[in-house]
Symmetry: C2
């Protein structure tokens, strides 16, 4: 069976290399030989040993009946979406590392895969090399998952780790991350939380079976975190992490949020440092389970794509656990449905304004649990008499 | 399809309860209705709503053609081994939480399962409710795993956590664990490391495909750890954990060891506390991956048994990734094949005896990497002039 790899960037080239170098192990696992058939890219790559596999013409890939599985690693919505759709409609299975595609078009593509008795798998789209998506659908699908919270973006976790360990400012840490290639020149998608938001949307949709759109999830990045926040957190035994979280409410709706959050140092999420990712799952039968590993990087991510390729090669028809639907109504809960405690810093004594607050430093407080409306009202009250220096929810 | 549950102890009763209470979710996942058919136990249980399912006669279970899957949760080698063997020989799939059975008889039972196109699965035998065995064989089987290190015993981890957090002595912490039901009246299997050793044997056998017997693994428990060891470790930024570890060497042999080990506090294993378990995997393509969760307890463990039952119900024939063989030759490496650094405490200045040692406290040292023979020679030298108060390897 031939594999077509779409996109020869970091992940796509890793997939090609593993397909060639580990062909024996892969054949053993898959139960059949899987051969790199085509590499689609608009660029030319003459220095690679498989340069004769390159094509710029997707219709040539589709026209070859020996191509059984397509691995999409181009990123972005188009032309990835059109190519993936066409491949699925031709009865091929598709695996992808493209979180934007899965988050925005997952329901549609899963439905096409099912209609053609093929598969659409995306282990590499969340948590890079961490086996995460498959354990969720194959081991925990009857565990009664009620909540997840993840550190899903390595760039922001690296920046926060530098701020905590070495006392760097946000700007210094970001600049260091850019120098090392951990952050892009335009770091917006990472530092503003969009990347984590897309991954949270994928996890929520998969776990609870109904589309949660990235645009529905309130998302805040880490760009406002200051050294004062870091010092305060440290003095109280907290870390600050960019946490992407979602919770199934009793009314069947989903509460989700991406934001910096204070986490007690004894939580397993607090010790996830540098570019590592982790997802904490809370389930009725298993209690807390955590998956940890490299959330990005060429080989870890390519390795997850390969695991999906093997799964597709072995699968006898559509894997029905991997599915979610678009509903007519949004599954997103009213933002007021969940109350959280917040860590608040002001530039004056605001203790009288926050009944029940715990005072954790000079003009620094932990509020009682407050809904979105309640924290907004409190913000307005604080701003009547001075400044609100920061407002960070606690993840508990 | 009927499910027979063998043994109505903690895990077995949990399996019965989930089978009944989550029958809808299970049917959806498994693609067919799975009904609790029999519960085999020598004791009588009249207060449970499924009391009419009890039997003391295993041949009655085997004689019923509607029984498709047997869940063994009796523990111990016999009669569990005979029953499981008979069930597999009749073409039924068997799932188990019995680590002794899997560690001692795994190769034989997997081979019988394969010969009858059935399955023998054991997710619950290592790491309780953590999805671990399935990710290893279904997601990471082409990742090139080179090493694992696990905190696989909740009882000893609870004791060590109490010693670190509350300054309790080993005896106080053990007694507290017994009061809470975390440790048995005879705690030998836990505190001497035998339980962790069996689980390490299972993981090694599964990951590298050849039987590693528990009796081959050098095993040391935590009963010699003192408050002085804890204080020294804390002062140097280390934790002490009971670590079960194994490594694939270049010659194809396996080095394995169960012992207390010093771990730097920034390792993800160091922050695994209380009764939680975790396994760190090192693989060529994915780098470090960690799985964390509740390693024991009724519902977490039963939940893993249920996940295996669903897997068996869905499987179309034998899952060939779950397999290892007994070789004529042992796979265990020469104990000298691997060198480790050790933390040494003496009752006199022994620095002259340990060239290249790092002095980390009064009469306390970290040695350079030493093989088993080298550390034995050093021990003898130290004993010529005084006492060796402790000797704990570092896990790095």
């Amino acid at each position: 069976m031939k594999i077509a790899v779409l996109g020869h960037g970091t992940v796509g080239s890793g997939v090609c290399e593993i397909l060639i170098e580990k062909s024996k192990e892969i054949a053993k696992s898959a139960g059949k030989e899987l051969e790199l058939g085509y590499v689609l890219d608009i660029r030319d790559f003459e220095d690679v040993p498989y340069s004769e596999k390159f094509t710029k013409d997707f219709s040539a890939v589709l026209a070859d009946p020996e191509v059984g599985i397509v691995a999409e690693a181009m990123g972005g919505l188009e032309p990835a979406h059109s190519y993936v759709k066409a491949a699925l409609e031709s009865g091929r299975s598709v695996v992808t590392s493209n979180k934007e595609l899965v988050a925005e078009k997952g329901a549609e593509l899963l439905s096409i895969a099912r209609a053609h008795n093929a598969n659409f798998l995306f282990e590499a789209s969340v948590g890079g090399g961490i086996p995460l998506i498959r354990p969720l659908y194959s081991s925990m699908n009857a565990a009664g998952i009620t909540e997840f919270a993840g550190i899903l973006n390595g760039t922001t976790n690296y920046i926060l780790t530098k701020m905590f360990r070495f006392g760097e400012s946000y700007e210094e840490a970001l600049s260091g991350a850019q120098t090392l290639g951990y952050a892009e020149k335009d770091p917006s998608a990472d530092v503003l939380g969009w990347d984590a938001c897309r991954k949270a949307a994928i996890l929520s949709s998969l776990i609870w079976g109904r589309t949660l759109r990235p645009s529905e999830i309130p998302t805040e990045g880490i760009s406002k975190i200051t050294s004062d926040d870091v010092n305060l957190a440290e003095s109280c035994g907290f870390s600050i992490k960019l946490i992407a979280r979602a919770k199934l409410l009793e009314n069947g709706k989903i509460f989700a949020k991406v934001s910096p959050a204070m986490i007690k140092n004894d939580s397993p999420l607090a010790s996830v440092n540098d570019v590592f990712n982790a997802v904490l799952i809370r389930a009725e039968t298993t209690g807390e389970v955590l998956f940890y590993g490299k959330g990005a990087g060429k080989m870890p991510t390519a390795s997850s794509v390969i695991a999906d390729i093997i799964e597709c090669a072995k699968a006898k028809g559509n894997i029905k656990e991997v599915f979610w639907e678009d509903g007519a109504q949004s599954v997103f809960a009213n933002a007021d449905a969940v109350s959280e405690r917040y860590c608040i810093r002001t530039d004056y004594d605001a203790s009288m304004l926050i009944p029940g607050a715990e005072i954790i430093g000079t003009n620094a407080y932990i509020t009682p649990p407050l809904s979105e409306s309640e924290i907004t009202v409190l913000e307005e009250k604080i701003l009547e008499h001075g400044s609100l220096l920061s407002k960070i929810p606690l993840f508990e």
